[in-house]
Symmetry: C2
Subunit: 246 residues, 2 copies
């Protein structure tokens, strides 16, 4: 990959963010919602961590296919629903839940909680930079999530706006274009190195944010090699410090 | 036009806004910036109100053409620049201003001030509804303006997102689709009746907001017939009152 450390950070005017895992704690939020819905339908016991992980894995597989132009175009809400139906059947919940309850649990992804530093850290960053999403979630999902988790985006952008899924180069190029900026005036912020590597290849600056708990406390994410990125931060307040925000 | 008053407003979850004139006072903002730039370039006298009106009229003509599929697709930043060059030549400023100064004055449209009630009224509305733009301004312009004028949008959407210019039906349909809502769950808010009539034809609810000063204090906008719209409000705080916001 290119030497991302060469970027002149004084040129950066906008930060674009990976959302699932980087801004919001998807796993714990999904476990809470799924276990609650299961209990309400007479199923108090279950490995809801595995349920959440398998749901998330299907999203990963499906969006990777879409990023490389395979599969029929669909929104993450639809991708989530495909796998939800499979999982509910597997866990014995398909026949006891109404369609309304299924729609509601699929919308748990619209109600993910932020990491503790997300609202305050994003507000500090917002005082100096334009903040936008560069998520594979669809626009409606991201807008609803922002209201739920108090995420003060300046612009919500998504595959239904970009016309592509990450890590397609189009996402990083179109994000910069829509914001009226050159790619080196935009910094990608993510907890996932693949996202940062793909953005660096398009000329964006890069900031890694370490989210050790994304896979749960029993399965801590190891700190990766971040030497190729412009910034490595422990959370959004650390990122705000390193970027000179008040 | 359809009888918009039939809408069930309890279904409305999102408000989408016309911006120029409805949310921001484009005319006074442009007059201030143009007269200041002209004075700095040795031209203290000039009919800057006429300059602003002619600049705006070109935007109106150009976006109407684009809404009906005529002309080559371009962003409002480019439409503004086309007419700026004509006006600067006409007012004797073309040769005395640097390219940098021309770029800066074209960006005056990114720095328009809100009407006095805009930040507070939008915040009240935001506590109950999703707030999004449905402007013909491009995304970068609207994002920069929101930061300048303290406009707390949940989503900034524009022709570079919608793929169409108002009053094309596509804008109102795509706004609803991107927000994951049916058209009757979305209310168009505008100071211009044509925009509201076009949105009502696509099934949206409608709110007229009266902005008598949009054309200047010497040329007050008359109150139109608003009987076909769901709501007629004097400003955003009145709209918030009528929609039951705290």
């Amino acid at each position: 990959m290119p030497d991302a450390r060469k970027n002149d950070l004084s040129r950066v005017e906008a930060l674009i963010f990976d959302v699932f895992g980087t801004v919001v704690n998807w796993r714990d939020s999904i476990i809470v919602e799924v276990s609650k819905a299961a209990a309400e339908h007479g199923m108090p016991e279950g490995d809801w961590g595995r349920f959440a992980d398998e749901w998330r894995a299907w999203y990963g597989k499906s969006t990777r296919e879409l990023s490389s132009g395979e599969g029929h175009w669909r929104l993450v809400d639809e991708i989530h629903r495909e796998k939800l139906d499979v999982l509910l059947a597997e866990y014995g919940l398909a026949d006891v839940m109404s369609e309304e309850a299924k729609v509601d649990i699929n919308r748990a992804w619209h109600r993910l909680d932020g990491w503790p530093d997300s609202p305050s850290g994003l507000r500090r960053l917002k005082s100096k930079f334009i903040l936008a999403t560069a998520s594979n979630g669809n626009l409606a999902l991201l807008v609803n999530m922002a209201k739920h988790a108090d995420l003060p985006w300046d612009a919500v952008m998504s595959p239904d706006v970009y016309g592509a899924y990450k890590p397609s180069p189009k996402v990083y190029q179109n994000a910069s274009k829509l914001l009226g900026l050159n790619t080196d005036q935009v910094m990608m912020v993510a907890a996932h190195t693949g996202d940062l590597e793909a953005s660096a290849r398009q000329g964006l600056a890069t900031a890694f944010v370490y989210r050790p708990l994304e896979r749960g406390a029993d399965n801590l994410v190891e700190m990766p090699d971040t030497s190729a990125f412009d910034i490595s931060a422990t959370d959004f307040n650390d990122l705000a410090d390193q970027l000179g925000c008040d």
